[in-house]
Every structure is written in C-alpha cells, then in structure tokens.
Amino acid sequence: MKNLFFREVKRNSKSFCLWLVILVAVNAFMFVAFESVAETATNTEAMLSQYPEAFIKAMSLDKFDMTNILHYYASRSYILFMLFGSIYSVMLSACILSKEEADRSIEFLISKPITRNEIVGAKYLCVTMYVLLFNLLFSISNFLFMQVFKMDSFDLEPFLLVSVGGFFIHMIFASVGYLLSVFITKTKTIISVSFGVIFITYFFSILASVEEKMSYLKYLSPFSYYGAEDMVINSALNPLYLIITIIIITLSVGLTYFFYSKKDITA
C-alpha cells in the first residue's frame, strides 16, 4: 500500500505544483488591485452603483466592507479559489482510480499483492494529502499577502474559517468525484460529469442567495455551506453544514470502498 501511495504522490506532483502556483499568482494579482478598490469603496454607493442589483445580492457585495482586506478577499479571490480548487480536487480524485481502468494498467496493478481496499485507501490518502497541502499552502501564502497589502489589521478567526471552509468544499467534491469514478471510468466522461456537478451546485448557491423562494437549494450546494458572507462577516460556521459535510464525505468514501471491492473490472 505504501508503494502505491508514494507512486501516486510522485505521479500527481506536477499538476499539484502547477495548480497551486497559478492560483497563488492569481490571488497575488487580486491583492495588487486592493488599494485602488479600497479607495473607491470609501464611497460605497458609487461603487455599488456600478453593478446590477442581482449581481450585488449574489455576491453579497452590499455586506462586504471593501476597505477590509479580508472582506475584499472573500468577495474576490475566495470565489475563484473555491471554484478552481474544487476543479483541481475533482480532477485529481476522479482520475486517480479510473485512470488505471481507462489506461488498462489495472491488469498490472491487480496482479500485484494488493487488495482492492488497499488500492482505494492508498489513492484516497494521496488525494486527501494533496487537497490538504493545496489548501494549507494557499492559505499561508494568502495570509502573507494580506499582511503585505492590508490597510488596517484584520481578525484571525474569520481568516481561519475561510481557510477551513475552502478545504471542506474541496474535500466534498473530491470524495463525490472519487465515488463517481467507480462507475464512470472513461476519463473524458468522468471529467465532464464532475465539472457539471461543480458548476450546477455553484449555480444553486447563487440562486439560493438571490431568490428567497429557492433558498432550500443551499442544502444542495457545498458552496452555500461555506459562503464567504457567513464566515467573514458573522464569523460563524453552521454546525448543521459541518454535519452534512462529514456525512457526504464518509458516505462517498464508504460507498467507494463497497462498490469498488465488488465490481467487475472488464476494461
């Protein structure tokens, strides 16, 4: 199992570095613009009048204080980080298991002394490690950027909440993608399906925040569980969402073990 784990760590290291560097760079560019945005924001109305009302509501722009660097981050880079981090996580998790079947290297792997459960375990461990590392390194760089570009000091607690929130979102998508990849083994198909899940749930989170009647949709979207507004402004995590997160992750991983150990590998 160790052998497979280290092999996967090595195999996925390049894409990890690439994604991390790009997202850190984008975040840095966002912060460069912070000062000029903060200056305009002293006149809040002037700034808000630039955008249509629905957009303001969807992005909670009216609630953020743009002179606060943490609020600025929550309204800009955090959304990108949530989305693209999810895409990275899902691409990693959805391909790590199914690629063996798509490339038919699974015949090699299965002929080695390793059980199917160990295969599922080693690969999921690798996914968890990379998603964790991805969030950790991004958040550290984020913290450093904020120290450099801030105008006033910011609270540590909401910063930590935002950081943890991103990690949970990514782990949800990684786990669901992992489960889906047991059934969908064609690389192209599994990638399209998991991207679809990400974008649909993101759309749900926007609908839920814009339209009162559809606020129930927030339970279907991890993006709503860890929305920037709750964490940065109210400095709170809803325990219900935490429970849902844990249930989704445990269930996905458990079912992955269950189905993968039973499935016929016919590729």
Binding site: I106, F108, I110, K112, I265
Partner: protein, 298 residues
C-alpha cells in the same frame, strides 16, 4: 497435487457469452495449454483467476487459496502476462520493474537485467515508445521478476519475433524445471504443442476436451487441398479425411490426421493430380472436429 483448481466456474456478462461450467485442474510443475478461438472465454477464465472479475457460480483455488477471498496472498506467488499490455505513460521500463518489485518487497534488479538481456529489451526506454512486441517483453519480464510459483500467460507470444519466441520457450522450460506451474493461453495450436504437457480446448465458453499433448500429437492435423486435372476422381481421399472441408468438381479440401505416409503414397499413385498443398489447419477446423466428435459420443 493440484496447484490450480477450477470447479464449475460460470460467468456471464450482460449479453456477451462469458464462460459456462468450466472445470479443470493443473498439477504442480505442469505447463497447461489453454486454447480456443478469440472470444471463446480464455481471457474470461484468466480474469476470474486474477479476481479482476467475480464469478456467478463455481469456485477456483490456487495453491489451496481461494481466488476471490485470498487474492492478495495468491498474488505474492503469481506472475501474470495480460493479452493486451498497457502500462503507465510516465514510466521507463526500469521504473516499472522497480515499481513492480517493491510490491513484493524484493530486490529483483539482477534478474530483470538478465531477463532483459536474454529477450533483447532496452530497459532505459519509455514504455510508451516501445513497439507492441517489446511491450510484451516488458510484461513477460515483469511477470517473472519476483520468481513466482505460478505463472499465468494470456497469449504471451503475440508480437514476439520467432527468435525471441524460442528464447521465451527456453525460459519457460527452465521455469518448469524449477517446479513452476504454468497456465498458457493461446490461439496457436502449434506453439502450445511445443511446450505444453496437457491442453484444454475451449469454445463458446465451454471446455470441449482436455487432452495429453501426446495424443494431440498423434492425431496431428493437417489441411490438405488437392486439385485435379479431371473431374470427380477423389473418392479415395474421402475415406482418409477426418473431416471434409470443401468439395467440388475439381478440388477437395479436407482435414487429415494420422500417418502422413498413407497420404503421400495415395498421392503418389494418383496420376490425376494438378496441385497439392498441405498446410496447418485453422484452429476453427480442428475445434470443429472436436465439436462434432463430442456430439457423436452422445
């Protein structure tokens, strides 16, 4: 002692055939041929032994370990060459060998060098850049590296040139001397005859017959095609034929088994010949013979 024991193994996939009630066992130190046309169920049986797929019915053991419950322990003593060889696109040959041997917690680098040299394989190349035949060599060496007790080969010789094939058969014979048990699947009767002790013939998912290779040799089949100058003088050949494949006014084509001299002397006496060709029969024809024979018994 039976090393591989398969009882009433049945597997059907959706609409395609799979295998039905396959039963055979392989003794220690035996090279067991497993032949049949494409799609007959050879690979399905092998995939079951490897627990890539699970059976609907029946059971299989290797060295008294259950193939579906104790698969990990079986794999410690097993080497496998798949019919289609596919590896990781980022690996060199040597990387794959290292990766493979780490699963057994063994250092097999010496053996990999020796085997690569014998089969003429450059281990510094990327696997993806290799030709079909060279990939097959990678698979063969990878299966032999950790000195397994049981070897399962699914059409191992396809893509290998004749010289390398001979070297491969030499390696098999050496392994056999060391008491290794080998299941060798193929659709080429000829190569199975060369190395195997016994052979099972499978068709449409069912085992038709299991024979000692000696008895197969005795009625070695050949396909004879004769064309005549004048029409309809071939009745004498009809009696010799095990099975007539095709017959019309000027030609006859049939399967012949047994003593070649009988055939040759009959041909010599015949002055109505225009042309004769004697070739290796297609497996289908030989199978057909077994098939017909089997139903006549009933």
């Amino acid at each position: 002692m039976n090393v591989i024991d398969i009882k009433n193994l049945t597997k059907s996939y959706g609409k395609s055939r799979g295998i039905e009630d396959v039963t055979f066992s392989i003794e220690k130190g035996e090279i067991f041929g497993f032949i049949g046309p494409n799609g007959a169920g050879k690979s399905t049986t092998i995939r079951l032994l490897l627990s890539l797929i699970y059976p609907d019915n029946g059971h299989a053991t290797i060295e008294n370990m259950d193939c579906f419950k104790d698969s990990k322990n079986i794999k410690k003593i097993l080497g496998y060459v798949p019919s289609e060889v596919n590896y990781y696109d980022d690996m060199k040959v040597i990387d794959l060998f290292d990766y493979s041997s780490r699963f057994y917690k063994k250092d097999c680098s010496d053996r990999s060098l020796v085997l690569s040299k014998r089969l003429g394989l450059d281990i510094t190349k990327k696997i993806n850049a290799l030709s079909y035949g060279n990939k097959k060599k990678v698979a063969i060496i990878q299966a032999l590296l950790h000195c397994p007790k049981v070897l399962i080969f699914d059409e191992p010789t396809s893509g290998l040139d004749p010289l390398i094939q001979n070297e491969f058969f030499e390696i098999l014979k050496e392994e056999k001397k060391r008491g290794i048990t080998i299941l060798f699947s193929s659709h080429v009767l000829n190569e199975v005859q060369k190395v195997c002790d016994r052979v099972a013939i499978i068709k449409e998912g069912k085992i038709l017959t299991i024979e000692q290779i000696e008895s197969l040799r005795k009625n070695q089949f050949r396909q004879v095609e004769i064309s005549f100058k004048k029409t309809n003088t071939h009745t004498s050949y009809e009696n010799m034929a095990v099975k007539i494949l095709c017959e019309n006014e000027n030609t006859i084509s049939f399967l012949h088994a047994g003593n070649i001299h009988d055939l040759l002397s009959a041909l010599e006496k015949d002055n109505n010949l225009e042309n004769v060709s004697i070739t290796e029969p297609s497996l289908e024809d030989v199978f057909l013979h077994y098939y017909v024979e089997g139903s006549e018994d009933k």
